[in-house]
């Protein structure tokens, strides 16, 4: 029996990885809000269930005035409300309301627009609407790699870029001048017509004079002969190498001092001495 229990235990065990918490003040940006991540301050995703609402506000009114305040959340399907809670201050002293509404766990996807609606004469101050939530990280296993049924996502397909299939390239390489295209087609057509005409004339000439053909053959062979240049003589030409040696040899014969320079240096020294004497 104990063995059976041990064998079945892995199939029976299931751990709930719930996280509980509170959202930020949904009414911070005004008395109408969407159930979005920036508004609630928590990531709105599959697995997030709302279990209650804590709301506070301070009504400003005269006792004799009629004034009602309703805190509500529309159904995302647009066919009603998830909850509606109304306080009627008509004929009553204003008192700061602080209320906790318990809700069955409602998926966040079911929540539509939230709002604080008023009727009558009066205003509200210090409004705050906070949602209590429960988050099941593994309801969508793809939320967390540690979830039991998590499937690693496939790498995204690599798209090979083919410039020839690029519409922009096609558009850029397309001839856009219609007149040029038409001119090209006209020229091509006229050339073909001229060639056909020449060919017809030649055929008629061949029929009338057989020498024309022989002449053509002779001229063709002559042109072939002129065009056939034997390049091997250029490729196979050999240029003999030669060594150019230095024939000049300079020998040290000694260099004598330049006496003129020595004389000039003595003049310079005298000049310097004269100049320095001025400052003495």
């Amino acid at each position: 029996m104990a063995l059976w229990v041990l064998l079945l235990l892995p199939f029976c065990s299931f751990s709930y990885s719930y996280t509980f918490g509170y959202t930020g003040n949904a009414a911070q940006g005004g008395n109408s809000w969407g159930m979005t991540t920036p508004v609630l301050g928590v990531t709105v995703q599959e697995g997030l269930d709302i279990s209650g609402v804590i709301y506070t506000y301070n009504p400003i009114k005269e006792v004799s005035d009629d004034f009602t305040v309703t805190v509500q959340n529309e159904n995302a399907a647009g066919d009603g409300y998830i909850f509606q809670d109304t306080e009627d201050f008509s004929g009553k002293h204003p008192i700061r309301i602080r209320k906790v509404l318990q809700l069955p766990y409602v998926p966040i996807e079911s929540f539509g627009q939230g709002s604080i609606a008023t009727t009558g004469v009066g205003t509200l101050k210090d409004e705050s609407v906070i949602y209590m939530y429960r988050f099941d990280a593994c309801r969508n296993p793809q939320n967390d790699p540690s979830c039991p049924d998590y499937i690693p996502p496939l790498p995204p397909p690599i798209k090979i870029y083919d410039a020839l299939d690029d519409d922009s390239v096609k558009l850029a390489s397309k001839e856009t001048d219609k007149e040029l295209i038409d001119d090209d087609e006209d020229n091509k057509q006229s050339n073909e017509e001229e060639e056909d005409k020449d060919r017809l004339e030649k055929m008629l000439g061949i029929a009338s004079n057989a020498f024309t053909l022989a002449d053509g053959v002779t001229q063709s062979s002559l042109i072939n002969t002129m065009n056939s240049v034997n390049m091997d003589t250029y490729y196979l030409a050999r240029i003999p190498s030669k060594v150019y040696r230095e024939p000049l040899v300079l020998k040290d014969q000694g260099i004598s001092d330049n006496r003129k320079v020595l004389r000039s240096l003595s003049n310079d020294r005298l000049h310097q001495t004269m100049i320095e004497e001025q400052y003495k």
């Binding site: 009553k92 309301i97 602080r98």
Partner: protein
């Protein structure tokens, strides 16, 4: 014949009476549990600020904090809430001078607009230190208790820790 039948009936009843035990009795306990429908919880702990040498106050402007008590009644017209601000220290250094206490008890917020009349209908006793709210509706009220203690003759308080108790209770009406 009629007499004979009556005789047999009398003898039979007598026999039955002789067969029966003399006494038949049983003691059965009847138990029951009554859960209070009124709950008193401290929502915000209070503490004193010390703006000068001779004053202790819960005013936030003087670095104090006003305590808040949550009183929830699930039955209408069944309870009254009695809340009082302190009139003495429960523990403090030895004080040679008297302390002058003042304070206020007020409803900070409520769970229903129907409770907006609680403040007007409340009564005050114990020289204004104790306030009684009549919980005529089911729901929650949040009561704040502000208090201030000024040492006699504006003399400086002796150094040490001072503790005072704000009392709140739910009493059946």
């Amino acid at each position: 014949m009629k007499k004979l039948v009556t005789l047999f009936l009398a003898i039979g009843l007598t026999g039955c009476a002789l067969l029966m035990p003399k006494e038949a009795e049983a003691n059965t306990n009847i138990t029951g549990t009554v859960e209070s429908r009124c709950e008193v919880v401290t929502d915000i702990q209070g503490y004193f600020g010390n703006p000068n040498a001779y004053t202790l106050t819960t005013l936030p402007a003087s670095n104090g904090q006003i305590p808040q008590i949550r009183i929830t009644s699930t039955l209408a017209n069944a309870y009254k809430a009695i809340v009082s601000y302190p009139t003495s220290f429960s523990s403090s250094p030895s004080l040679s001078n008297s302390v002058t206490w003042s304070g206020t008890v007020a409803i900070a917020s409520a769970s229903s607009s129907d409770m907006s009349g609680y403040a007007a209908a409340s009564t005050v006793t114990n020289n204004g230190a104790m306030r009684t709210y009549y919980l005529t509706h089911a729901g929650t009220i949040y009561v704040t208790v502000a208090s201030e203690a000024i040492y006699g003759g504006n003399k400086a308080y002796p150094g040490g820790q001072y503790v005072a108790v704000a009392e709140a209770s739910c009493v059946a009406q």
